[in-house]
């Protein structure tokens, strides 16, 4: 097993905060920089990472067949057409939940880490068996949360569990930030969230309607080339993950108009 492979769990506790969207976009953004990246869908019950990447119709084998040894790993891996550095290992059928053990998960991940530089694991919501299996195979973690009280509470619980499982480092991504609502104090601010969770902030992702469009089309924002605020945020997160220093967006300085937003983003030098 290669020791340099970064095995990163993307988890949140609460559902619907943007784990899968982050996994897909981060996967593409990392692959674009030239590193070999695998995304593993560990959400066996409600898999949809394949949907977001637009790879649903190209799945032949899944992680299940790999574990049963009825196919080789490279047969199950689905390579992304436009971004050949990215491969998806799809989740098997939901019955896998009944028999999958942490050992199985570790086996899959160690196979992946022989071939890839980054392995991103899309964790299921909740803190039950699916979560425990995914944690057992991970080295580091990204906790995704929204600026909402319930999402922050669940994230806090998850961080506690990650700490007891020896996952390090654990970093935070704050998703669906609405600068306007923060300014009018209707939404938790970035400081409110980091104050409670006390984690290093890997990045903010601004609320963006383009995310919904891209999800429905199965073309991740980071791939589509649209200069949208969220796409910028995802690319920034990928750069920071690789050790580059990219300044965080200040939500207070985000203009209200879309044009204003674009102009500011065009001016920020990222690479």
């Amino acid at each position: 097993m290669s020791t340099n492979t970064r095995i990163i769990l993307i988890c949140s506790g609460k559902g619907g905060v943007g784990k899968t969207t982050l996994t897909a976009n981060l996967g593409i953004a990392l692959a674009r920089t030239g590193v070999r990246t695998a995304v593993l869908d560990a959400d066996f019950g409600l898999r949809n990472l394949d949907l977001l990447l637009g790879l649903e119709n190209r799945i032949v084998y899944t992680a299940q067949e790999v574990l049963e040894e009825s196919c080789r790993l490279d047969q199950a891996l689905v390579k992304h057409k436009q971004e050949p550095n990215l491969a998806l290992l799809p989740a098997g059928n939901p019955r896998m939940l009944e028999w999958l053990k942490p050992d199985d998960m570790q086996r899959i991940v160690s196979m992946l880490s022989d071939q890839f530089d980054y392995v991103l694991i899309d964790c299921p919501a909740g803190v039950e068996d699916g979560f425990k299996n995914a944690v057992s195979a991970s080295k580091e973690a990204i906790v995704v949360t929204n600026p909402e009280v319930s999402a922050v509470r669940d994230a806090d619980r998850v961080i506690g569990l990650l700490n007891t499982n020896g996952i390090n480092p654990v970093q935070l991504v704050l998703n669906r930030v609405r600068p306007k609502m923060i300014a009018s104090q209707e939404m938790l601010s970035v400081d409110d969230v980091t104050d409670i969770l006390a984690l290093p902030l890997l990045g903010l992702v601004l609320e963006d309607e383009q995310v919904i469009v891209s999800t429905n089309r199965g073309v991740p924002l980071t791939l589509s080339g649209i200069n949208s605020p969220a796409a910028r945020c995802y690319s920034n997160i990928a750069s920071r993950l690789q050790g580059e220093e990219v300044p965080l967006i200040d939500p207070a300085k985000e203009g209200s108009g879309m044009r204003d937003k674009f102009r500011r983003l065009m001016q920020t030098k990222i690479f």
Binding site: S136, L161, T164
Partner: protein, 222 residues
């Protein structure tokens, strides 16, 4: 069956300062007879992975663990994450019996003090029989409770219960007191709605049957 239950024993790991548990376990388990046991982890800070390893050693020796004791909170959090019943054990030098003796009168300086470093996150519960001093925050959704005083060197934003055995003189002190709920003995109060003044440590005590919050006194232990 009855015989089996009465045979329930405590198996203790060596103290962390004396010997590594990994070396000690084979020796301990050779002597042990199969059956139901309590595991005392003493001062070992164990992760889920460590505990799983220990539990699998025990299972191989035919031992079933029904309770895990430890004086380290992390170990207990790991144990409860694995679905085990847990009990927080007080420090070696102070026996809980000596605490019960003076339970009726005021808590004295003699009562044992549990010290914990690190933030309590949502869903975690730190419990002690005597006084407890926590260096770190108590986050919303976390709980801290004790038979004596609760002292938090940090922000208290979860729930706290002092004097849980009925001691009306117990108090709750924190650098920033903004709890969801406070309990002292049998009294319950909701936390204050408004934000507290910054840089002012506060304490909650019972005065004429009600929980009140006031600036903290210099001597935290009454």
């Amino acid at each position: 069956m009855e015989n089996l239950i009465s045979q329930e024993r405590v198996i203790a790991l060596p103290s962390a300062r004396k010997e590594d548990w990994r070396e000690a376990i084979p020796r301990i388990l050779i002597k042990a007879k199969p059956g139901l046991v309590e595991l005392d982890c003493r001062d070992w800070k164990l992760s889920c992975r460590d505990l799983k390893k220990i539990i699998s050693f025990f299972e191989k020796a035919g031992l079933k663990i029904n309770l895990i004791r430890s004086n380290v909170v992390q170990t207990l959090v790991s144990a409860s994450a694995l679905g085990h019943q847990t009990v927080l054990r007080l420090g070696e030098q102070s026996k809980s019996s000596s605490y019960e003796e003076n339970n009726n009168s005021n808590i004295t300086r003699k009562s044992s003090l549990l010290f914990h470093e690190g933030t309590l996150r949502a869903g975690e519960h730190l419990e002690a029989d005597g006084d407890v001093l926590l260096v770190g925050d108590v986050n919303p959704g976390a709980k801290i409770s004790s038979g004596g005083n609760v002292m938090v060197w940090g922000r208290l934003r979860g729930s706290a219960h002092a004097g849980k055995f009925g001691n009306q003189n117990a108090k709750i002190v924190a650098l920033q007191l903004r709890p969801l709920q406070l309990r002292i003995a049998n009294e319950i109060a909701r936390g204050p709605e408004e934000k507290p003044q910054e840089g002012l440590a506060e304490e909650a005590i019972i005065e004429s049957g009600q929980i009140i919050i006031q600036p903290a006194k210099t001597n935290p232990l009454p």
